[in-house]
Symmetry: D2
Subunit: 384 residues, 4 copies
């Protein structure tokens, strides 16, 4: 592939969007991607204004994703976008993703991948059919110390895994803010836009992705309870799940959005025969590794830092002690995604980012949790 | 009551006992209790040697608890012991406790109160019949910041409680150390000495006691899973429980002894409508209180410290920044217990310590967890 | 000013440069700046290769800063760069900065501003003469919680300031790595490239800038000691300074690069009559505020987060709990700098970034520290 | 020596005394010491009431230390006290200590040892002359992780020591509380009772003792500044010292009592060629060891805990994760002191506790700091 920046078109993410801004920062950061066009809002005026604020040329500020995808298709190869980034609410992921793939564009999508498991499977088929790349932004797998944790386990340093505790504790929905003008809250608590689950779909999926990504294990059975704590809310805002994994390990998953006073407290702890590890998203540059037979160690992010596996080190931009955060984790996904599009590696490592399989698994997780929640029996087999 | 030290006799706690030494330090600390006699081991030689090391007069080093209780009964009122402290393994709690009560002695017992719920209920009847005092050392309720947490909730500062996460994570049984000469491990994993549950009885009971003590709530239903992770072990060494409480709140309880690398990591988090609180036993002098509408606060132990309720402040011995710990929490129970025996208060506060009701509840918890574990249905009603 | 991205040219920062990459990420992040040209290395081949990797058009990869500044001057207004970013070693800051200003370009410079105080003062004159903007990247003043700390003090919340402790503790120069091929170490320990001070110039200047920026105070006297701990090194790698400030407060400044095992541990604590505050660069999203008469508070970064002053909130890109770090602090400087160039504000706040005055003060600090270090008497008046 | 508890008499420590209660708890804790007599206050009524509250027999509640020492001398060997514990304000340490030694009693004294260096030296002569034991309660050297830190350095694990940072930051004197009825504040800020220095004598001496105890180094030169921050106060309430040590290492010592909002924040960091260590008194069970060439380690207190030297492990009473604190550190001094009186060791280790040499050094430190503070020249040689 010719050496140039890759060209991104964005669907959704206009004025007022939280996650759209995050995706743009992540894409901008390394100077390898340029935003060339957008269908930034379903409201034409907002789309125009948003595009202008992003310095898009007028001709490439589109009013709809169809218009954008078809319009870009007609441009010459050295002008048209290379991939789309879809940052709309969940219900509006599938259609633009399919259309983009059908027209030869790679796709980045904010999680969860689609509105339903069925859609996710269709998308997977299309990806396989076209050979195009798909990035699904399960953000937290982008952190270097999460990759380090995964390598520690993959290399057997903890021995056979026995126990996983994962929790994602937020407080921002502890009041019915969806009725008080909070747009983020509004769509996330609306089953028509968000899907059949609120909290479990929004953040429980992150939690299970993190647990399985790091441990390398798969959930085989689960026992779930979903709650709607804030009165009048239509979807779950709290949930808890007991887990059995394919190697016999067990685990607990907590996800809540009503823990008043909490921010974005995603924590993972995994224990094996020889030791355990602990990672907190809110202090993401530290990974504590505890050992049965020697003192605990503090592993720290930083390019070239001692004690890190190459994949962790390579996913850092700064030396130790210069903290990186959420935006850099996000940017790691974009960087790995475009390396993969280019057919390149990251200092000898295969680009590592979540894609359709993780997306399907997340959708299946939501469906299985709901099924278990509704069941009387304790354990529900995990099916896909 | 005449102003003098109270006289303690100890049952169990001879050479090699961990918990016996802890009880003695706790009883000694405030200079209000003197150890006057002991039946420190069922092995006569060990009993003698242990008594000598503790400077007991020869005539009051007894060979059995029966001998001690009956022997002390015959001494004059200004010589005989006031109470017994029972620090034997679980199966040997009930008989000496009953005999002591029948002979007019107050009783301190290490938790869990007895071997079975049935025994616990008989003990309760006897306590009520005699009017004597019973201390059950659920240690963690003795910490000042735990008492502070309870007061915060009792005073409505967090609003209605919605969610409780409690976990007690240890790693010391991650290998089959009961087969390698570890005496602590041996009796705790032996159903004849420990009772029908290992981990859940040993530390799960601490966790539920802490959660209910602080929240003021009662468990109404639960969904439990017990695991024996280390091969060949006879009792559970790991467990997890979903909880429903009497006000509609829900919760999760984790208890494990196989989390390699963990020490004694008991953590409680409780969230209400207005905020939440977080306490870690391993840094017990700090209580974080998080608020929905203002910055989080760091409350700190210390006699007379700002922001503390009197009951928390009164259960401190040192000013802020001079850390107290596990032994002082333990000593708080003894101090409150003897104040109650004396009919006194703690600076105007009613002496606060766990007793038979907490003991019965703990035994019931074990039985209900086992019942739920064995059940196919998800939820089991909590019965006593 | 027309709505478009601002165009940046970079001087220095070719392959292998740490700080050049940092500046580019910081400039890229918000999608408001595009890199259009560069004189990226004094070695022509490296300059070419570096420019190609950054996708610069061939015609705008220059071989020297003179060539670039003069070349860009001749381009049309809608093509030529708007500002230069100078990321060369200290000795090569002054000349390109002067030439850029003389040719009408705004200037961003990595700190310290120049090689000597004399150069810094000339630069200031030129800035004032031209009315152009100059950004000096004292990174740490870009952190939102540092700005929050400054506002807390400015608003009198701590009362009169009495004591400042600032420390910048690194370990990366604990061995003579400048002799073992470490390029970063090589120029920083070479007086010809770095200036008359090593550690104190490199990181002590950050520390004093942070202390004075947050406190609003000025150093009036100081008592310094510089050390060269690693044998054979030409410049100081460790230093300590006692400080007197213009309101009567006193302080201590520690700067070291030989604290084996430390990363980039910059910590600030300031105490006033009513309370104190504490900030750690390695956990930059938290600011602890301690009060004489109420519990300590944990303030947390996050756009729109409770308890933050607007200037702190506006310098966040993510909501609370989505950690930002060093690169975002750096990017805040660039964002404020270009807002100032455009004559705009940041949500109603005047753009806030370090400039020539801070640069001169830093150079004066180095000179005063050296003078005090060489003096026999305890206190040296701070002169500029 | 016959196997029995050692008998303690207390001088000072009556109702309202903070440190008297601490000494009694420390002496009680291990059941090896009994309080048998006291001259608890210079006010007879308070002495009587205080003695009664401590259950002392009437005949052994004395009105003055002379009366007590002479009275106890006349008792039979199997009744009279073995040692005195002196917990009066500084000015009243010397006379009772001398009298006790002259009458054959061992002596425990709260720090600083005396009112002046001259007194301290006389006390040392008397100790040497009599062969009796003297305990000086520099509390912080009693913590197990402080002893661990000392062993790490003594065993060369950090290599040659290069840098020491020690700080003791309190806030309790940030207002003129000595004028508002605070008895602790009143004597500590009164030169007649406290000596020539306030803050530096009270807590600076702890800091230097800790630094030298752990590092094994001796101060050779210093550069000090003392401040009286709170208006109208007679003694220093804040101070800072630059230090040179006998191996060429340098250091900084901060001591303050006006850091509003701080509790009892004593922190030590020491760096050598190979790594560094960090200990915080307010979280005393953790010692972080940082390494130049491998990840940092978290060492944790606990009897028998992995990674501990025997002397650290033996000075623990509980297993890992059951936090010990200030009172246990204090109790360690008493335990080591009475082992030494008995001619015994602590599991094979020589009893380790501060004594007259540390006392003299502390007094010399105060005098040298004052001398340096008053000097114009930067460095003052440390003399004794």
């Amino acid at each position: 592939m010719e050496e140039r920046k890759l060209r991104m078109g964005m669907i959704g993410g206009g004025i007022g969007s939280f996650i759209g801004a995050i995706h743009r920062i992540a894409a901008n950061m390394d100077g390898q991607i340029e935003l060339v066009c957008g269908a930034l809002s379903s409201r034409e005026k907002v789309a125009k204004e948003s595009g202008k604020l992003l310095f898009l040329p007028e001709g490439r500020i589109y009013s709809s994703y169809e218009e954008m995808i078809l319009g870009e298709s007609k441009l010459s190869a050295d002008e048209r976008m290379d991939f789309v980034s879809i940052v709309t609410p969940n219900f509006a992921h599938f259609a633009p993703a399919m259309l983009a793939l059908e027209n030869g564009f790679h796709v980045a999508i904010d999680k969860p991948i689609t509105f339903s498991l069925d859609e996710a499977e269709k998308l997977k088929d299309k990806v396989e059919e076209t050979g195009l790349k798909l990035l699904l932004t399960y953000t937290y797998a982008g952190y270097p110390m999460v990759k380090q944790a995964r390598e520690i386990i993959k290399n057997g340093q903890l021995g056979n895994i026995r126990k996983i505790y994962v929790e994602y504790i937020q407080g921002w929905l502890n009041q019915p803010s969806e009725k008080e003008g909070n747009a983020q809250a509004a769509w996330r608590t609306d089953p028509k836009k968000s899907g059949p689950s609120g909290c479990m779909g929004d953040i429980g999926t992150h939690a299970i992705n993190l647990a399985e990504y790091v441990s390398g294990l798969e959930t085989t059975e689960l026992c779930a309870m979903l709650n709607t704590v804030v009165e009048g809310r239509q979807l779950d805002d709290d949930g808890m799940v007991l887990l059995k994994f394919n190697n016999g390990a067990t685990g607990m998953l907590a996800a809540t959005q009503i823990a008043a006073g909490e921010e974005n407290n995603l924590t993972l702890r995994i224990y094996g025969e020889k030791g355990g590890l602990e990672w907190h998203q809110m202090e993401p540059n530290t990974l504590i590794v505890k050992w049965a037979d020697k003192p605990a160690e503090i592993l720290r992010a930083g390019s070239g830092n001692i004690g890190l596996y190459p994949i962790a080190s390579n996913n850092c931009r700064t030396p130790a002690g210069h903290p990186e955060g959420y935006l850099e984790a996000f940017a790691n996904h974009y960087r790995n995604f475009i390396l993969d599009i280019r057919g390149e590696d990251l200092n000898g490592e295969k680009p590592d980012y979540p894609s359709v399989d993780e997306g399907i698994h997340g959708m299946a997780f939501i469906e299985n949790v709901i099924r278990s929640h509704q069941a009387q029996q304790k354990w529900t087999k995990f099916t896909t």
